[in-house]
């Protein structure tokens, strides 16, 4: 009995310890990328839903080179020429061929599709803190090709980026950790072709169990989301996206459940859309995919199944 201290002493000690905690402002962590503020919510609420049949085959040639083949067969929605609310779909099929080189400091990835698009991405780490990324999309449609260059600098407790794109697109952003859990950021952009400039602000608060973030921009877009991590296997997420100019608004609530062999994500949103996406790892080295998205308001029902082979 002598060896045990009474609970009240324990509580007092804990309280005192907590009161004595101080923030070391010279040793704040490094924040996530400005464009990845919402990454937890995006991972849970925006899986790669598809309709029809999908096959992805990735082949490693050696430690750094790989090839990929993708087939997607299924209906594709086309614009309805009549002012009816009905949806028109036509069957289509696409084949993508991709090649990639991945090195700790450099990666190069290219994909070409049978509908005439070439997608290329590159990233080069000049130093541990300084990297350059480039993206390009070439199409056979007039004026639809794009190019993009991003310069990224990572400090001890801040990150900053400069972006340049074709059609006179310029953007810059900066994000800074201000307490161990809270980071704040801002961005500015100029869209030359549309003669539009804007600013945006963002905040992100994260602990071991929760992540909350919000963004707002002078283009009239506001985004908020919240993720609650119940355990290593299960997270719940909700987000809210509002566009003041078009008055579009959507809120979603969903979950992300990861087990040893599978991952299941589902959501329901305020526009009446219910979606689920299941990935199951089979012992023979295949990943089996099931995708479902049901839009009750538009009566648009999409179901897909697919296979990933490695």
């Amino acid at each position: 009995m002598e060896g045990f201290s009474p609970p009240i002493n324990t509580a007092q000690v804990d309280a005192k310890t907590k009161l004595d905690e101080k923030v070391d402002y010279s040793n704040l962590p490094c924040p996530v990328l400005y464009e990845e503020l919402n990454r937890e919510a995006t991972m849970a609420l925006k899986p790669e839903l598809f309709e029809g049949f999908r096959l992805d085959y990735n082949k490693s040639l050696n430690q750094k080179f790989f090839l990929s083949h993708s087939i997607l067969m299924g209906p594709t929605e086309v614009p309805n020429p009549t002012p009816s609310s009905e949806i028109i779909k036509i069957p289509t099929a696409n084949y993508d061929f991709g090649a990639g080189f991945i090195d700790p400091k450099l990666y190069l990835i290219g994909r070409i599709t049978t509908d005439g698009r070439l997608n290329a991405r590159a990233k080069f780490d000049l130093t541990d803190n300084f990297s350059v990324k480039a993206n390009a999309l070439l199409t056979d449609e007039e004026d639809k090709s794009q190019g993009h260059l991003v310069i990224d600098y990572k400090g001890s407790d801040y990150r900053t980026q400069l972006q340049l794109g074709n059609n006179s697109v310029y953007a810059a952003n900066y994000i800074q950790h201000v307490t161990p859990h809270l980071s704040l950021g801002g961005e500015a952009f100029w869209l030359g072709q549309q003669l539009m400039s804007g600013v945006g602000y963002a905040a992100r608060y994260e602990t071991d169990k929760t992540v909350a973030s919000g963004q707002i921009a002078s283009t009239g877009v506001a985004v908020m989301n919240y993720v609650h991590k119940v355990s290593e296997k299960l997270s719940f997420a909700t987000d809210f996206i509002y566009n003041y100019l078009s008055r579009d608004v959507t809120a979603s609530v969903g979950y992300d459940l990861i087990t040893r062999q599978s991952r299941l994500r589902g959501k329901v949103d305020s526009n009446g859309v219910v979606a689920a996406y299941l990935e199951e790892q089979l012992p023979i080295g295949l990943r089996f995919l099931l995708s479902a998205e049901v839009d009750h308001v538009k009566k648009d029902y999409k179901f897909g199944f697919g296979v990933n082979a490695f």
Binding site: V230, V249, S270
Partner: protein, 54 residues
Amino acid sequence: MVNNVVSIEKMKALWHSEVHDEQKWAVNMKLLRALGMFAGGVVLMRSYGDLMGV
């Protein structure tokens, strides 16, 4: 007094137009529903998220 009356009347007119104008009400209802879903989701997760764990 006059200012108060005027501002109260303005508020009444604003409320009336936002609620009784069919087009505005449709947009506002959509926004309220989305906000409610977001707030409800956050409250549910914080209150019962751990209980819903598998």
